[in-house]
């Protein structure tokens, strides 16, 4: 009981003194202040109730409005945001959060521990990643600025979970937390407040003038840190046509693009009015396989698929040329990256070996359905290319391209599909829990639980020692390749872009509209 781990507090205290000398209302600030910035994104947000959705279109907007107890820093590691920090007991069962004082909601109310408790409890019911609240036994509020979370069993992924932007565990006022999914009034503590939502047109946000900055930090850092808003308002427009978005950036109608098409970025390389920011890696491109139905239930057949695929062709076409051929189920350079495990089985493009494996599997020309959706163009392209490659080794492929809800609905069933294309963006960024979780638990994506993966997942989610958890992720990756559970095609990159007069912009998981301004 002597060893206590403290996250955040020490570092925060050190920084606080350093930042006292840096007042925000200097002359430079006054000069930069003002202006309405226009962002364009492809899709419209399915929800402005941050907790309920994992959609990027919502995240781009919601993380300007809402904040979380812990956020992620620039490198993707958890950092305190609405919390001052957390004390975790040595047995890993008690999390004691001290809250930042005087934080204001957009409705003028001051945030207290009651709001936090209600928000966390709501997350367990409606949250997109609600499973992170499953180990929670009870949440108590000893005083207005302290929240204590008691767990039933150790769960080292808890802080990673509540700090994740996947479906953010946003802190909202207690009186909103009683409402069902998507029924809340859009009220958070973030630097922007919700203005209006015009479906198929735009969302408008305005600067929250009573925003309480996190003075524990000196500058913006990932989704947290000290956020300073210069713009008066942000308009996020929904524009389905890529060409129209690019043209809008060229003509100056739009200032920021969530993603600029790669060919367009190449064309605009020399355009002095446009700045492009490449983000690599942004996501995994994957091919999931259904183990509940033959022939993909047969590991030999899955290995044949693994051996046949030419990842360079798949990635070059599906990403328009912005990709990286990496085998890892975590990003290189992050804490849980498992090194070269499985690399010898990645991107073999060995047709002879694939055919031999196919024979060995006893494949008798059964129809194999490759499921893709037309709503995400890289999903569709991946499916088309993979289908052609599998045809080339003699698989009787049926390519099914439908819209997103149909594809998604199909893949949740045990029959009717064999391979399914999916880009995983936020999960690898989150760390190992989401990625491993995708293939384990009650309803793994492959529909049949794999003992090796389950064991790795159990070790990952309960081990208090980081070394054990890293070993678990290595086990996971080994199993993924050895059993050809699913196929990682490669890493996808994207290009964010702004007009040249958007100063101090830094690309990130969302286009952050704080700490940048019109020059």
């Amino acid at each position: 009981m002597i060893t206590r781990r403290t996250l955040g507090k020490g570092a925060a205290a050190g920084l606080a003194t350093a930042t006292l000398a840096a007042p925000i209302a200097g002359p430079a600030y006054a000069q930069r202040r003002g202006g309405e910035v226009v962002i364009a994104q492809q899709a419209q947000p399915p929800s402005l109730d941050a907790a309920t959705t994992t959609a990027q279109a919502s995240r781009n907007i919601n993380l300007h409005i809402y904040e979380t107890l812990f956020a992620r820093d620039e490198a993707g590691n958890p950092m305190p945001d609405l919390a001052e920090g957390v004390d975790i007991s040595a047995d890993g069962l008690t999390y004691r959060f001290g809250l930042r004082r005087g934080v204001k909601f957009h409705n003028g109310k001051t945030m207290t521990s009651a709001d936090v408790k209600a928000s966390l409890e709501r997350y367990g019911k409606v949250g997109g990643s609600a499973f992170i609240m499953r180990p929670v036994e009870e949440i108590t509020t000893p005083d207005a600025n302290t929240v204590v979370v008691k767990l039933k069993e150790p769960y080292p992924g808890f802080i990673a979970g509540i700090s994740s932007p996947r479906a953010p565990c946003a802190i909202i006022p207690e009186e909103e937390a009683g409402k069902a999914a998507n029924q809340i009034a859009v009220i958070g503590t973030g630097p922007f407040r919700f203005g209006e939502f015009r479906p198929d047109s735009h969302v408008k946000l305005t600067r929250f003038d009573d925003y309480v900055q996190n003075t524990n930090f000196a500058r913006r850092d990932g989704f947290g840190g000290r956020k300073t808003v210069h713009f008066d308002a942000v308009t996020i427009r929904f524009m389905p046509e890529a060409g129209a978005r690019t043209a809008g950036l060229q003509t100056g109608e739009l200032h920021v693009l969530e993603a600029l098409a790669v060919p367009a970025a190449q064309r605009l390389k020399d355009d002095r009015n446009v700045r492009a920011y490449e983000m690599m890696p942004w996501a995994f491109q994957t091919l999931m396989m259904n183990h509940a139905q033959g022939p993909t239930s047969n590991v030999m057949f899955r290995r044949a698929v693994q051996a046949a695929l030419d990842m360079e062709e798949i990635m070059a076409i599906s990403t328009d040329g912005l990709f990286r051929l990496t085998h890892g189920w975590q990003h290189p350079g992050t804490a849980y990256f498992a090194g070269d495990i499985g690399k010898e089985l990645y991107n073999l493009k060995d047709q002879a070996r694939a055919r031999a494996l196919l024979r060995e599997s006893g494949y008798r020309n059964e129809e194999v359905t490759v499921l893709a959706d037309s709503s995400f163009s890289n999903h569709k392209a991946t499916g088309e290319v993979a289908a052609e490659q599998l045809k080339a080794i003699g698989v009787n492929v049926k390519l099914v391209v439908v819209d997103w809800p149909t594809a998604f609905n199909q893949r949740t069933r045990r029959e009717g599909w064999h391979l399914w294309t999916l880009m995983l963006g936020i999960e690898p960024y989150e760390g190992p829990y989401g990625v491993v979780g995708f293939f384990s638990g009650h309803q793994p994506v492959q529909h049949e639980r794999d003992a090796g993966i389950e064991a790795a997942q159990a070790k990952l989610t309960t081990s208090l020692a980081e070394a054990d958890r890293k070993a678990a992720v290595a086990d996971f990756q080994r199993r993924m390749y050895d059993q050809a559970i699913a196929v990682k095609c490669g890493d996808v990159g994207i290009v964010q872009a702004t007009r040249a007069n958007v100063a101090n912009y830094a690309p990130y998981r969302i286009p952050r509209m704080w700490d940048c301004w019109f020059s």
Binding site: R237, A244, G248
Partner: protein
């Protein structure tokens, strides 16, 4: 007249009932539901199921149908959870966009179509006539959404004259509205322009063969004067007929054009609702579109009676 109008309105009720059945059939057939849109691309099967129960999507379709008809009798088209507003509100805020686009396109096609038809008819079988009519025929053979893409490429990007998409409300900035509508309305109008040009030419030729026009010509009046003074009015009736049909076609074409130009109109609302499986919006949207269709057809018939003294309704 009033009786005729009321009769027509009453006969619309069974039509609209069929429409509502069709929209339920579509919903019953289409796989997947709103939860998969809301949960986002990487949601797990478990997350999906939880949302589904919360949104009440696990109710059987018959129950939803009865509830919907019940609410409809109270004038309530339901709520869209995804759009955060009532279906009525969602449609009403889109209507000005679609109607603006449709009627601007109609305006363009009448002005240019009728003009082209008249020019062609003044000297039948001349080079001008054949040229204009060939253009008209080509115009009505082009896919309108494709033309929209070409326009964006040419006028917005290469020349930089017009915005690439998006909507500026008329009340906010009339010039901006016209700029945002110019390309979509033209792309949409081209087909109907061709149609109206052909129609105008045909009826002009009919009229010009009539005796009184021949007399006027024989008196030595110049061709243009004859065309405008004598033929103009008599050509109006068939043009209104065609224009009436055109409104319907333009409303349909607007569905795709709104996609191409990112216009937040009713067509994009309904297509989006189908893609997102937003059931109340699909039902309400289709019902309302059909109602507008019926009303437009009625209006055309009434206008027809007003212009042509030979047509009398409902004695």
């Amino acid at each position: 007249m009033l009786r005729y109008t009321l009769g027509r309105l009453a006969s619309a009720i069974p039509v609209l009932f069929v429409v509502s059945l069709v929209s339920f059939a579509i919903i019953a057939l289409v796989p997947g539901d709103m939860a998969s849109e809301m949960a986002g691309p990487s949601a797990t099967a478990e997350e999906l199921q939880r949302l589904r129960v919360q949104l009440g999507l696990d109710k059987p379709i018959l129950q939803r149908m009865l509830e919907w008809y019940g609410a409809l009798l109270r004038g309530d088209l339901g709520e869209s959870v995804l759009l955060r507003r009532s279906v009525t509100e969602a449609i009403l805020e889109r209507l000005p966009v679609t109607l603006g686009l449709t009627f601007l396109a109609l305006f363009f096609s009448i002005i240019f179509g009728v003009l082209a038809g008249m020019v062609a008819a003044v000297r039948p079988n001349s080079w001008t006539d054949q040229g204009v009519m060939a253009l008209a025929l080509i115009g009505l053979s082009l896919p309108d959404f494709w033309l929209g893409l070409v326009f964006i490429w040419a006028f917005a990007v290469q020349l930089g004259w017009l915005p690439t998409g998006g909507y500026v409300p008329f009340g906010e900035n009339p010039i901006g509205w016209l700029r945002s509508m110019a390309m979509p309305a033209t792309a949409l109008a081209l087909t109907q322009m061709g149609l109206l040009a052909r129609m105008t030419r045909a009826s002009m030729l009919d009229v010009l063969r009539q005796d009184y026009v021949r007399t006027a010509r024989a008196k030595g009046l110049p061709g243009w004067v004859v065309v405008f003074r004598h033929a103009g009015a008599n050509v109006l009736v068939p043009i209104i007929t065609v224009a009436g049909v055109s409104v319907g076609i333009l409303l349909g074409g607007a569905v795709v054009i709104e996609q191409v130009f990112s216009l937040p109109g009713v067509g994009r609302l309904i297509i989006g609702a189908i893609q997102r499986r937003d059931y109340p919006v699909i039902q309400g949207g289709l019902l309302l579109t059909a109602t507008i269709f019926v009303l437009v057809n009625l209006a055309v018939d009434l206008l027809y009676a007003a212009v042509d003294p030979r047509v009398r309704y409902g004695k």
